[in-house]
């Protein structure tokens, strides 16, 4: 690139002078209006330039422009998202132009940090998902709708319960003790994501703080993956950034959209358990085994007592299918109504939505009522003001799950020999009875989210926009829990409230300099602050006859505990940032950005962080030597690098704190003790990453694809450093770790058929390799995840660290293990644990096919995950130890007599007596977690215009949609897509693919209609 001196000065002048420059005396003035071809609406902001000159103009609010040109010039009209148009000027003075929406991907507008760009000019790695793609099938959170749709973006739904939480991992996981989810920004406001899980993990399952964001309000969602795209978010960008843009008024005429959907919810898989006869047989066999082989001097001829005090006769007459009593066909429905108008001075989008998301678990559903108003008003030609606001109420009727009961209990400690009722009105209570628990407990949470911002857009001169913005995000969760007099002699009621309030304010100035033909420069400067308050409250009562939420006024007398921690300031951020984008002749692209972040979370020695990034791109097809290529219509090579940070570290860990007001007394004397050691050095995690990529279009962009290599290296990783417990401080926080993620992403979109019968295929696949490079002095057990996952230097994060199982000794049915050195042993010893698996896959992806013919359309999305292992943390108790739990039917293949060859050891009632270690964590319970799943299937019909016009509507569509219809996997458990209760960020980073009676995903079948009128 070379700028001659004149151009250079023009550039400088343009930067600082407001008035346009007039360079020629012989000019004429052309005026006109630019409208959108499809709607006839005026298009503001269209660039109009005189080809080959520096003369240019931009259409104003009503689409009109005025430009001075030399006679005979050619005008070029261009606008992001539309195909550019050229008009040769003859004698006209009025030129009206209609721009058609671009059909090629490359003209799409992509939302980037604090702005937008055309996809063609992007040098960062950003995936865009349209809102319609997310809501194609019923999802309770937008995250669930992202599955399989973007390369390198892994979404793991925790389970299939209504409103369940999920983990989002972009290009692997880059943290151990700090949050691993991307930053999520809705219309410019970073929202509370509840990364630390304090919001909704209770009773064996968690809910998502994102369930209050209505997916139907989303216009588009951009995922910023590489450093050059995310570094503008500085210390919060290292896990990637998801930018959510909600719908705004854009249609010319006022239009109303109504949609309704209803459907059925089932579990993806039901597990097989023993019936009463089998259980009794095996119970007896286990007892006999213990008598024969064990050390307990048992009488082999006797029959053991049955648990729960039932007699053999009763047990033989009872065969309860507990799963059946927990599961049903759930019902879901959802209705949305919205109004949209984009002409005139007021642009408005107003919507209201109600959803009632059922689940396959009886008693479980999530209801959300939400409304949104996005309004923008043009005050003057230079000034507009707007608000985006949404208010949502969620009610989650929860049930217990996993280890806490419910289906988890039905799949474990509720025995088939036990009845639900001992007589007509008395629940069986001598053993686990999940029906009794469910019927007599109420777990209900109420959510309230208000999210909105108000802004001013000031356009002092063409090309310059200054935007001031102030936003709020309020979120509260009130979880009520109640046990009635059947479960407790005195009924118990509690209410737990978690509250968050964030403020965000920013001022951003953007200056676009479009120097015709050769130079395009955009400069962005901005500053932002963000701060969050948190609060919580707890109340518990004995003896209330109803849950707390039913009371207007509560009696003081039965209050057992009351805590009220009002909202207090918890963290704050202040940032300054700038970005410069430049391209030369639309083929050489450069971008550089810099952000400075200060946060209250960082220690005083590290208060501010600096996050630079840069990227370059070369659109090779703009070069002459490729201009004529008919095969290769587009080729861009790009590279980026930069630093990003992760500030998702606990709020107050830098402070040395002492608890002086704890209410604890010893011998009636009060006490003082320290709770945290000061660490003034505590700071963000720092990630250096670089990307190399190419984008290509073939056959006039009918085939479009991207291939990217990335390498991310996280340093200064925040660790929960485990000190020797003898120091008196089990955990201190420090920045000591190092980790690497590198991988390849590939996506291709092919419009296979484009005639009457249209067929498009999208494929994306992301490979990621994670490696822990340094964890300081940590031992293998120092950084431990639920279900025996560990962090061990040189291995991927969260490896399964287990004793290896060899075989079952045919002589006595004992399990045989491998020692660390690989020798066989019958002694289970935790010192023989080795790395045997990993929880994150080698690659993930999705393939979506969309077909349409006339009014009919069909699409089906498969997603896949390959190469991870699933550890069944409950497995050791489901196979072989007939003590209090029902058994998986796998146990039928057990060893029974000398000579039997099998992988299932002999049965035992009591590990202590039989000599079989029943509390063993071995790779017997580790499974291949790979799967291929038909995630979404949609079949729809759009009524032809002739029909809908008679009905006085603009558009009418009916469809059928299903999720999780088919799953192909070798995993024998309930569902290969698993995340155990995610109690905190570290567990969430370390232990995906670990199950403990975790409820499976939901399979749904829905019919719906969309009407526009």
């Amino acid at each position: 690139m070379s700028l001659n001196k004149t151009h250079y000065w023009k550039l400088i002048l343009l930067l600082f002078l407001v008035a346009p420059l007039s360079l020629s005396a012989q000019t004429q003035v052309i005026t006109g209006t630019v409208t959108e071809a499809a709607t006839g609406e005026p298009l503001p902001g269209v660039t109009v330039i005189s080809k080959g000159t520096t003369m240019g103009a931009v259409t104003d609010f009503d689409g009109s422009y005025s430009i001075e040109i030399v006679p005979g010039a050619t005008l070029v009209f261009s606008f992001v998202g539309f195909s550019p148009q050229e008009v040769r000027v003859k004698d006209q003075t009025l030129i009206n132009v209609q721009l058609g929406e671009s059909t090629t991907e490359l003209d799409e507008v992509i939302v980037v940090g604090y702005g937008t760009q055309r996809k063609r000019n992007l040098t960062g790695s950003i995936a865009k998902i349209d809102g319609s793609q997310i809501t194609e099938t019923p999802v309770s959170t937008f995250a669930a709708g992202l599955q399989g749709k973007a390369a390198g973006v892994q979404i793991i739904q925790s389970n299939g319960m209504a409103g369940a939480g999920s983990a989002i991992r972009i290009r692997g996981v880059g943290s151990i003790s700090a949050g691993g989810d991307p930053l999520i920004i809705v219309d410019g406001i970073p929202i509370n994501q509840d990364q630390d899980g304090s919001y909704g993990v209770r009773r064996g399952a968690n809910t998502s703080a994102m369930a209050t964001i209505n997916p139907n309000d989303i216009e588009s969602l951009e995922i910023l993956k590489d450093a050059s795209a995310a570094a503008i978010y500085g210390s919060r960008g290292a896990n990637g950034v998801i930018l959510i843009t909600t719908k705004r008024g854009k249609s010319k005429e006022a239009s109303w959209d109504f949609s309704y959907r209803a459907g059925m919810v089932q579990e993806t898989k039901r597990l097989d358990f023993l019936n009463n006869t089998e259980w009794l047989q095996l119970h007896q066999e286990a007892y006999e085994n213990d008598a024969i082989y064990g050390s307990g001097n048992l009488d082999a001829g006797a029959y053991p007592d049955l648990p729960g005090g039932v007699t053999l006769e009763e047990a033989m007459a009872t065969n309860t299918d507990w799963q059946d009593l927990m599961l049903h066909n759930g019902f879901s429905q959802e209705a949305n109504l919205s109004f949209n108008k984009g002409s005139d001075k007021l642009k408005s989008y107003v919507g209201i939505s109600y959803s009632d998301q059922g689940s396959y678990l009886m008693g479980n559903n999530y209801k959300r009522l939400s409304g949104r108003a996005n309004l923008e008003y043009q005050l003057t030609d230079h000034l507009s003001a707007g608000v985006n606001f949404t208010q949502a109420f969620g009610v989650n009727n929860r049930v217990e799950a996993s280890w806490a009961g419910g289906l988890g209990s039905a799949q474990s400690d509720a025995l088939p020999i036990w009845p639900v009722w001992t007589d007509e009105s008395t629940y069986f209570d001598a053993g686990s009875n999940p029906v009794r628990s469910r019927d007599n407990k109420e777990i209900k949470s109420f959510e309230n989210r208000s999210l909105g911002n108000a802004y001013l857009n000031y356009r002092p001169i063409d090309g310059m926009i200054i935007r001031a913005d102030y936003g709020l995000d309020y979120l509260s969760l009130d979880e009520n829990y109640y046990e009635n007099e059947i479960l407790r002699s005195v009924p118990y009621a509690e209410s737990r409230v978690n509250k968050y309030l964030s403020e965000n304010g920013k001022v951003v100035g953007t200056y676009d300099l479009n120097m015709p033909e050769n130079h395009y420069l955009q400069v962005l400067v901005g500053t932002e602050f963000n701060r969050t308050k948190k609060g919580n409250a707890f109340l518990s009562y004995d003896g209330l006859s109803d849950p707390i939420y039913k009371y207007d006024a509560l009696p003081d007398s039965s209050l057992t505990r009351e805590e009220d921690n009002p909202l207090v300031m918890s963290n704050s951020f202040v940032s300054f940032f700038t970005r410069i984008s430049y391209n030369y002749k639309g083929k050489y692209l450069f971008s550089g950005s810099m952000r400075t972040d200060g946060s209250s979370r960082f220690g005083e020695n590290n208060k501010f962080g600096y996050f630079p990034a840069g990227s370059v791109g070369w659109i090779v097809t703009e070069e002459e030597f490729l201009e004529k290529s008919t095969l290769l219509s587009f080729l861009k090579l790009k590279a980026s690098f930069g630093y990003t940070g992760n500030a998702e570290i606990p709020d107050l860990i830098q402070w040395g704190t002492t608890n002086i007001n704890n209410g604890i007394t010893y011998n009636n004397d009060s006490i003082i003790f320290r709770t945290n050691l000061a660490n003034p050095n505590i700071t963000w995690e720092r990630t250096f990453s670089y990307d190399l990529g190419l984008e290509f279009g073939l056959l006039r962009d009918r085939i479009y694809g991207e291939l990217t290599y990335y390498n991310k290296r996280t340093e200064n990783m925040l660790l929960q450093v485990k000190t020797q417990a003898s120091s008196g401080w089990a955990i201190v926080y420090d920045n000591v770790g190092e980790m690497e993620n590198k991988g390849v992403e590939f996506m291709i979109k092919s419009r296979n058929l484009v005639g009457d019968f249209k067929w498009t295929t999208d494929l994306n696949i992301g490979f990621n390799r994670n490696k822990v490079l340094d964890v300081g002095t940590a031992s293998p057990d120092a950084l431990a995840g639920t279900g025996d996952t560990r962090v061990i230097k040189g291995h991927p994060i969260g490896v399964n660290y287990l004793v290896r199982f060899s075989h079952v000794d045919p002589a006595d049915g004992m399990p045989v293990f491998f020692t660390k050195e690989g020798e066989e042993t019958k002694v289970y010893n935790v010192e023989d644990r080795v790395v045997v698996g990993k929880p994150y896959p080698d690659f993930i992806g999705g393939i979506n096919n969309t077909m349409s013919y006339r009014g009919f359309d069909l699409s089906f999305l498969f997603n896949f995950s390959y190469g991870n292992q699933i550890y069944d943390d409950a497995g050791k108790r489901l196979v072989g130890r007939i003590n209090g739990w029902n058994q998986s039917r796998m146990v039928l293949d057990r060893w029974r007599q000398p000579g039997d060859i099998t992988d299932i050891p002999r049965l035992t009632l009591d590990g202590a007596l039989s000599g079989i270690e029943t509390d063993r964590n071995t790779d017997e319970f580790l499974y291949d977690g790979s799967y291929l799943r038909l995630k979404q299937l949609t079949f729809g019909y759009n009524f032809p215009e002739s029909v809908v016009q008679k009905m006085h509507v603009k558009n009418l569509r009916l469809y059928f949609a299903a999720t999780n219809l088919l799953t192909f996997t070798k995993y024998p458990g309930s569902d290969p897509e698993i995340f155990r209760d995610m109690e905190n960020v570290m567990q969430k980073n370390l232990s995906p693919s670990v199950t403990y009676l975790t409820p499976p995903q939901a399979m749904t079948f829905n019919v719906g209609l969309n009407v526009t009128f």
Partner: protein, 465 residues
């Protein structure tokens, strides 16, 4: 123009940043501002007592662990950690071992910090006498922690050896910053740990007053010294400390064996952990483990072996009061004998008391370098008179040393049943621990994972013999 606005905005914001970016905790105070008076130091000291009574340490589980791993106690439930203890296969994940380790060291850490405050807090109102008393309590508390830990986590001290087997890390320095917390400390030898504990207690004896309310006094320190020397088979010193306490301490045996448990700070109490209400119960874990007069059945009960001895003499009030044979609730007709020492809503934990000291003196008198059998006989008689009724069980005046030793150990087991001593008595006398050699690795707890986590190279105990 616009740039100027932006620049001035930036400058303005930078100046306001420092305040904006400082958010201090609200429900706690900064450690640098927490200690402002002698009273604050005293409160910090009391917090160490609050840890001592933790259910996993002196508040109960530590006692139950020793009784279950040996032959005093059995359990009626299944649990990962307790199963390991019953089976003597405690690995680094043993929950009871881990929690005991953590809390014992936590108590040491709290007093180490108190001693740091004595030197560094600069509070004006601390008088020298108070200072000494506080330091004495600190030394006592951390000595107790190290001694109890080394008995559980290391092979036993043996009088005729140099005791260079690995003991436990010695923690006598305050941890005031992250560097100190992460500094590696390896296991000292058992000999070094005992030396350190004794030195600490000897200093505590000098620093502490004889009467310190219900907090540790010089007698409490002496009682621990007697116990430690006794454990070391250093009978001369054990005798001498025990004698000092008996003669000069002003303690007297209660009339009834039950008073030690039923009454707080009774006449024979030397050091007790205090309980002030059911909600503030130092003996919570003991009560939880053994209480048999409440609803349902306790998780632990005395072994048949112990019960047989305890109820062998119908005059024995210990057998009458501390053992209750009843139906197991929820069964039809199955009987079991439970321990009734801890049948209270709340109670003090009798950490040191005169009965134990008398038994130490009795046995030490037999085996000290200049044996004093008459002393042993009269001490033993004192215990017997209270237990069986005066004159009901006379120690024969012509008993041999061996007979006397057996009688002492018999009474000791019954007198101190479910009070921790059994495991350590078996090791002290090189007796089998329920089928295991006294020095079996399986009768020693493994160094817990939470210790290894910060010191991956710490020497672990062998997992088998």
């Amino acid at each position: 123009m616009n740039k100027i606005i932006i620049i001035s905005a930036v400058v303005f914001m930078f100046s306001g940043c420092e305040n904006f970016l400082t958010i201090e905790p609200t429900n706690e105070v900064l450690t640098t501002e927490a200690i402002n008076s002698a009273e604050d130091i005293q409160k910090t000291l009391i917090s160490a007592y609050d840890v001592m009574r933790n259910g996993n340490y002196l508040g109960g589980n530590m006692w139950t662990m020793g009784d279950l791993v040996s032959d005093n106690s059995e359990k009626d439930f299944s649990d990962f950690g307790w199963d390991q203890i019953a089976q003597r296969s405690m690995n680094l994940f043993n929950i009871q071992g881990r929690s005991f380790w953590q809390n014992a060291y936590y108590s040491a850490e709290r007093v180490n910090y108190v001693m740091y405050l004595l030197d560094h807090s600069g509070v004006p109102d601390l008088i020298e006498q108070e200072r000494q008393r506080i330091e004495g309590e600190c030394r006592f508390i951390r000595a107790v922690a190290h001694f109890e830990l080394v008995r559980f986590f290391a092979l036993p001290f043996e009088a005729d050896s140099n005791n260079d087997q690995p003991g436990i890390p010695i923690r006598l320095k305050p941890v005031v910053d992250i560097a100190a917390a992460t500094k590696i400390v390896d296991r000292a030898t058992v000999q070094t740990v005992y030396d350190s504990v004794i030195a600490e207690l000897e200093l505590a004896v000098d620093l502490l007053p004889g009467d310190n309310g219900t907090y540790a006094s010089s007698w409490a320190a002496k009682a621990y010294l007697a116990r430690i020397y006794f454990q070391m088979n250093d009978f001369d010193r054990a005798f001498s400390y025990a004698s000092d306490i008996i003669i000069n301490g002003g303690f007297a045996l209660n009339d009834s064996v039950q008073e030690r448990f039923a009454t707080t700070n009774s006449g024979e109490a030397i050091f007790e952990l205090q309980s002030t209400s059911a909600g503030n119960n130092s003996a919570g874990a003991l009560v939880g483990n053994y209480r048999q007069n409440g609803a349902g059945n306790p998780g632990f009960h005395p072994s048949a072996d112990l019960v047989n001895q305890a109820i062998s003499d119908e005059n024995d009030t210990r057998g009458q009061r501390f053992y209750n044979t009843r139906f197991i609730s929820g069964t039809e007709g199955l009987e079991r004998t439970y321990c009734a020492k801890y049948d209270y809503d709340y109670m003090n934990v009798p950490v040191s008391h005169l009965a134990e000291i008398i038994l130490i003196r009795a046995e030490s008198a037999i085996d000290k370098s200049s044996p004093d059998l008459p002393q042993a006989i009269s001490d033993l008689q004192m215990i017997r008179d209270r237990a069986y009724g005066e004159g009901n069980k006379i120690v024969p005046g012509n008993s041999t040393a061996e007979e006397l030793r057996n009688m002492c150990q018999f009474e000791r087991r019954l007198e101190l049943a479910m009070e921790e001593n059994r495991l350590h008595d078996l090791k002290r006398t090189k007796s089998e621990v329920r089928g295991l050699p006294y020095n079996s690795n399986r009768a020693v707890w493994q160094i817990p994972d939470i210790e290894q986590a910060g010191n991956p190279d710490i020497e672990m105990n062998p997992s088998s013999d």
